[in-house]
């Protein structure tokens, strides 16, 4: 239930958050490079721990590279016309003195991902994240520098009229299902 004091229905940011969907069926219409770059520019504004920006974006709209990416990404059911790989530069992480197993960079990947999804939605582009892929194979396909790993692939394209059903059907959750309020003392 929404508090009557907070009008979420007319707030464009809240509406964008609520209307965004993972798009898993795309047309073959390419997303032009200017639009992809606008999405990347928005991603640059995603918050990062300590404003360190340890994630990197590797982008391709090359048909052969996209084909190879899909072949090594079992979770990529869509056929994107562009892909943004959100990577972590682990040498940069180490340069800050963080141990290799630190989890903070994954949080930054998440904020970048959420921002990319919202930016794409705002520009009328369909976007879907893929995390089921071989890191080793994707690193080879994208020719990533040593020390970089791809952590999530964001598929971009224009939504097809008919979308695929979700992989798994779950009941719709409310914020209450996900939240524990600690009592005031």
């Amino acid at each position: 239930m929404t508090s009557p004091a907070v009008d979420t229905r007319s707030n464009p940011v809240i509406q964008a958050i609520r209307s965004r969907r993972v798009v898993r069926a795309l047309t073959d219409e390419p997303v032009d490079r200017v639009t992809v770059e606008a999405i990347l520019d928005a991603a640059r504004w995603a918050p990062t721990a300590g404003n360190r920006h340890l994630q990197r974006f590797v982008v391709t709209d090359d048909p052969g590279t996209l084909r190879a990416l899909r072949m090594v990404s079992p979770g990529m059911v869509q056929r994107p016309t562009a892909v943004v790989a959100v990577c972590v530069d682990w040498e940069a992480v180490a340069a800050y003195g963080f141990p290799r197993h630190v989890t903070g960079p994954y949080v930054d990947v998440g904020t970048a991902l959420a921002t990319i999804l919202l930016a794409a939605h705002a520009l009328g582009v369909g976007a879907g994240p893929v995390s089921s892929f071989s890191r080793a194979a994707v690193g080879a396909v994208l020719r990533l520098p040593p020390g970089w790993t791809a952590e999530v692939l964001v598929c971009l394209g224009y939504p097809a009229p008919a979308q695929l059903p979700p992989f798994a059907r779950t009941r719709r959750l409310t914020w209450r299902d996900l939240t524990t309020w600690l009592p005031r003392r």
Partner: protein
């Protein structure tokens, strides 16, 4: 038919696509939820079917074009729906079995 030379239904690119999917799915399965296992195999089956269908025989095409689509590549449902999922998978398996016996051991050729 058994004993007859079968035409190629996949080219090297098709086969490579499936090979890459299977190898990388083996790796991702190490980290994925258990209910995704059957889904990944079904995804591979759908990919294979898509590549095979244009050059397949009418009998095979009827299975991969009609029976397989009835079993979309979904995760095993938790709780409600799991029995229906298994039943649909069993029905697909039965269709594949019927295709195989018709193709390789038709009634008149059985000992």
């Amino acid at each position: 038919m058994a004993g007859m030379e079968s035409p190629w239904v996949l080219d090297e690119d098709d086969a490579l696509d499936l090979l890459a999917f299977l190898v990388t799915a083996a790796r991702t399965q190490v980290d994925e939820a258990r209910e995704y296992g059957p889904m990944r195999l079904l995804m591979a089956a759908h990919r294979l079917a898509e590549a095979m269908e244009p050059r397949s025989s009418p009998d095979t095409r009827s299975v991969i074009g009609e029976d397989l689509p009835r079993m979309p590549a979904l995760a095993v449902p938790r709780g409600d729906g799991s029995e229906d999922y298994v039943a649909r998978l069993d029905a697909l398996c039965a269709s594949v079995g019927a295709l195989l016996v018709h193709r390789y051991a038709p009634e008149e050729e059985r000992p």
